[in-house]
Symmetry: C2
Subunit: 126 residues, 2 copies
């Protein structure tokens, strides 16, 4: 893998994601960063963080990608089989790391990634 460097933008973005309870979109990150860097840089930093396995992507129900910290997914078997919850009212997307779905897939399918999202009302909004 390519050598990556620690830059201000990367540090700030990582801190932001790690300190957030909910997954963040590019737009939300950009707003929080207060113009410390260009919007393209944010996209590139996010790509890097995903590649390094520090952050994972979630495709929200509206098609917008959100980013959240990786917790117990370091190391070899880097998988994200937990469910995400997208609140229709407060628009928050939360990782439910303890909730892992079971299912029986025909074995001809080779699964590389999973994206499970439920939408509705979160505890705060219902």
């Amino acid at each position: 893998m390519k050598i990556t460097r620690n830059t201000i933008a990367k540090t700030e973005i990582r801190n932001l994601i790690n300190s957030s309870k909910v997954a963040l979109s590019h737009a939300e990150i950009q707003q929080a960063l207060n113009n410390i860097c260009d919007r393209v840089t944010i996209y590139r930093v996010l790509d890097r963080l995903v590649e390094e396995g520090l952050v994972h992507k979630i495709v929200n129900v509206d098609g917008v990608i959100k980013y959240a910290e990786c917790h117990e997914c370091a190391g070899e078997h880097h998988h994200h089989n937990h469910i995400h919850f997208s609140c229709q009212k407060c628009k928050s997307v939360t990782c439910l790391e303890d909730v892992e779905p079971f299912f029986n897939l025909p074995k001809q399918y080779k699964v590389m990634e999973m994206n499970f999202t439920l939408s509705g009302l979160c505890p705060q909004c219902s």
Copy 2:
């Protein structure tokens, strides 16, 4: 609910979706329709079909929305709790209507919709 009309565009789009084995995106539908109507009309017809419960949306892993026929989901409990498979090679998105995941969600959450997508290699591509 508002009264809806059957138009050429709607009929064609519905036929297209119903005869397709895989879920279709707006772009794919537009290409197949060969300019029988404006692209905005396609968006509006799709919205109507979803509202009428004839078609359901799937958010693909790249954020693009795909549309597929509703089969056993007519009537009151219109739910789509089956898994979708998105092939990284041939880019097809397939409804696996028989594959329904199980999970234990904390009961404070109120679920309205589900979006489960696996990505990897489909039987044809693996």
